[in-house]
């Protein structure tokens, strides 16, 4: 099992408490550190963008959506490897996300192995 420095952590943005919480637990069981935010605005406001090694975000949320968050980060030249998780993503949405630099686009519920591998890959960049 690999270990990572404290300064490298995963940020999770999802408006659903239970998804957010269980995702953190899943990452912890795989040995990753994470911080969770209930909205894109909360994440942007936290000032954690620069230290985030990998971003896992929902797409449909009240307020700013996951795709809007990606666009904002790109505009700020803050390129974080981003994994999208969504309950209703279509091909068009997936294509758009990947074109904008997303590393993965996972439909909910997702396979934990795929997610963990994606996170690991992102962190080892």
């Amino acid at each position: 099992m690999s270990t990572h420095s404290e300064s490298k952590f995963v940020s999770i943005v999802d408006d659903d408490d239970s998804v957010r919480g269980t995702l953190q637990e899943l990452l912890r069981s795989a040995g990753f550190c994470s911080r969770a935010f209930e909205s894109a605005e909360a994440f942007l406001g936290s000032g954690n963008q620069r230290e985030t090694a990998c971003l896992i975000t929902d797409i449909r949320m009240p307020g700013m959506s996951g795709l809007e968050l990606q666009a904002r980060l790109n505009a700020e030249h803050c390129r974080i490897p981003t994994i999208f998780i969504t309950a209703h993503g279509d091909e068009e949405m997936r294509f758009k996300a990947l074109r904008e630099g997303a590393v993965e686009f996972l439909p909910k519920p997702f396979d934990d192995e795929v997610l963990i591998e994606s996170v690991r890959a992102a962190l080892e960049r």
Partner: protein
């Protein structure tokens, strides 16, 4: 009858003293004058007769004292004017005659006066009795007229309400009283007179006869009230629905004297009830169809809403497996992750149940419901839909609301329709998108729920049109949501209306009555 002719005689007006004493003097003067005239014509010694007449007249008409005066005057006139030369014996004799006569007249006048008094008293009494009698007759007439009027009103009321009244002495007795309306309801001709009980019984529908007989028999046996519905077959074959109630009248020793009661023609009432029932069913069907449509439009959001807890459950289960399959398994972490998975799987099942209860077709069921809870559930169910359009939902729910009697699914349907309207009004606008849901208790014992949005607002000049069937400003939808919401609210005894929300949007509010004991 009164006695007007004798009234004057009985109540003779009192003469003045001058008139009465004047009569004494005048009658004696007239007697003296007449006697003097007769003396002139050589018919002597007649003053005595005239004087007695004068005394008698005075006594009769002027009373005792003027009579005595007339007697004294007569004596003086006779002794000193008419026959001054008469002897003392003759004078005394005449004085004695006048005296005796005066005494006799006194007795006579007294007797007459007493008689007059008695007659007057008797007359007053008779007059009073007569007046009483007249009053009694007038009262009797008035009561009789009132009774006739009251009977007419009663007959009219019976006719209008199709209610006949009857009295019947129990088996094998006869019908004792049978009001006019009974004939009409039961289909008899009043000209043929009161029907025997058996004939009445034969007009009951053959299928109902055994049941009716049993109900009546049991009531008579137990001396209790009875009530039954039955059908009447009229002569022409027409079947009418009727209801009869009866109440036993018991004698002093508790024996059954008779039954009194009514028969009511309830055909129209039953018909109206059936119509109302059909209408309720149609309304429930329509509400259900409308719910199906709305939920159909929400499929994507509902799927998302179910997907969230399933994702969380899968995450939990995956985490559990990871803790167990590590080189050194951590059972405590695995147990906690598994517990979370179970919790989230249950949450997913709850949401599916909620969706199913909304989609389920069933008759409207009223039960005690917590409106705030219903609102919260609906907000949760629509969360994905509001998220989809980046609409924030804020609530101001009065925590102290009493529970109300309502159909929870239908109330949720109204809340759902109003929230969906709010979403539709805002989704294409580029400004703050917010739905605010308030619940509160009004002063007149009602709950008021209002749902306001910051959308395009109500169509100007046709605020109330939005409640018409098939009125819609949307590109999708058939314009039934608000119409159905209003009929649901009204069937619960409440009101649904629309107003402008300031500065933007609309505010839809509805009330639901609070049960009296809450």
């Amino acid at each position: 009858m009164a006695f007007p002719g004798k009234m004057n005689w009985a109540a003779r007006p009192a003469w003045s003293a001058t008139l009465r004493y004047g009569l004494a003097v005048a009658s004696v003067v007239v007697a003296f004058g007449l006697a003097s005239a007769l003396v002139h014509f050589h018919i002597p010694q007649t003053f005595g007769a005239f004087a007695l007449t004068a005394i008698a007249l005075t006594f009769w008409y002027a009373g005792t004292k003027p009579g005595i005066l007339a007697a004294l005057l007569s004596s003086v006139v006779r002794d000193f004017l008419f026959d001054p030369g008469t002897s003392t014996e003759s004078r005394l004799l005449f004085d004695l005659v006048f005296l005796v006569f005066a005494l006799l007249m006194m007795q006579l006048v007294r007797g007459r006066n007493q008689l007059e008094l008695r007659v007057a008293e008797r007359t007053v009494e008779l007059t009073r009795l007569n007046d009483d009698l007249k009053r009694e007759i007038a009262e009797h007439n008035r009561v009789e007229a009132e009774l006739r009027l009251s009977e007419a009103y009663l007959a009219e009321a019976q006719r209008l309400s199709h209610t006949g009244s009857w009295a019947w002495s129990p088996p094998p007795g006869d019908i004792r009283y049978w009001s006019e309306e009974c004939y009409r309801v039961q289909g008899f001709d009043p000209k043929e007179g009161q029907p025997p009980y058996e004939v009445f019984f034969q007009t009951i529908h053959p299928d109902d006869q055994a049941r009716v007989a049993e109900v009546i028999d049991r009531a008579v046996r137990e001396k209790k009230d009875f009530k039954f519905d039955y059908r009447i077959v009229h002569l022409g074959g027409e079947i009418r629905e009727a209801q009869s109630v009866g109440h036993p009248v018991l004698g002093p020793s508790g024996d059954l004297v008779e039954y009194v009661g009514t028969i009511i023609d309830v055909t129209e009432r039953k018909q109206a009830e059936k119509e109302r029932e059909r209408l309720r069913e149609a309304q429930a069907d329509l509400a259900h169809a409308s719910r199906m449509t709305t939920m159909g439009e929400l499929t994507a959001s509902l799927a998302h809403e179910v997907n969230q807890p399933i994702t969380a459950a899968v995450n939990g289960a995956s985490t559990c497996v990871r803790w167990l399959t590590r080189d050194n398994p951590d059972l405590e972490e695995a147990r906690e992750a598994a517990a979370g998975a179970i919790r989230n799987a249950k949450r997913a099942a709850d949401i599916i149940n909620r969706i199913r209860s909304i989609l389920k077709k069933g008759e409207s069921k009223r039960q005690l419901a917590d409106v705030n809870e219903l609102i919260r559930e609906m907000i949760a169910l629509l969360r994905s839909e509001t998220n989809r359009y980046s609409i924030s939902v804020r609530t101001e729910l009065d925590a102290d609301l009493p529970r109300i009697m309502a159909d929870p699914v239908q109330v949720q349907q109204v809340v759902m329709n109003l929230i969906m309207n709010g979403i539709d009004a805002m989704k294409d606008l580029n400004r703050l998108r917010e739905i605010v849901i308030r619940s509160q208790r009004t002063e007149n014992q009602q709950l008021m729920i209002s749902i306001s949005d910051t959308g395009v607002g109500l169509p100007p000049q046709q605020k109330d049109k939005i409640f018409d069937a098939f009125f819609t400003t949307k590109s999708q939808g058939i314009g039934m949501g608000l119409r159905i919401s209003r009929s649901i609210v009204e069937s619960h005894g409440g009101r649904l209306w629309a107003a402008d929300n300031l500065p933007h949007g609309a505010c839809l509010s509805f009330t639901l009555p609070i049960p009296a004991e809450a």
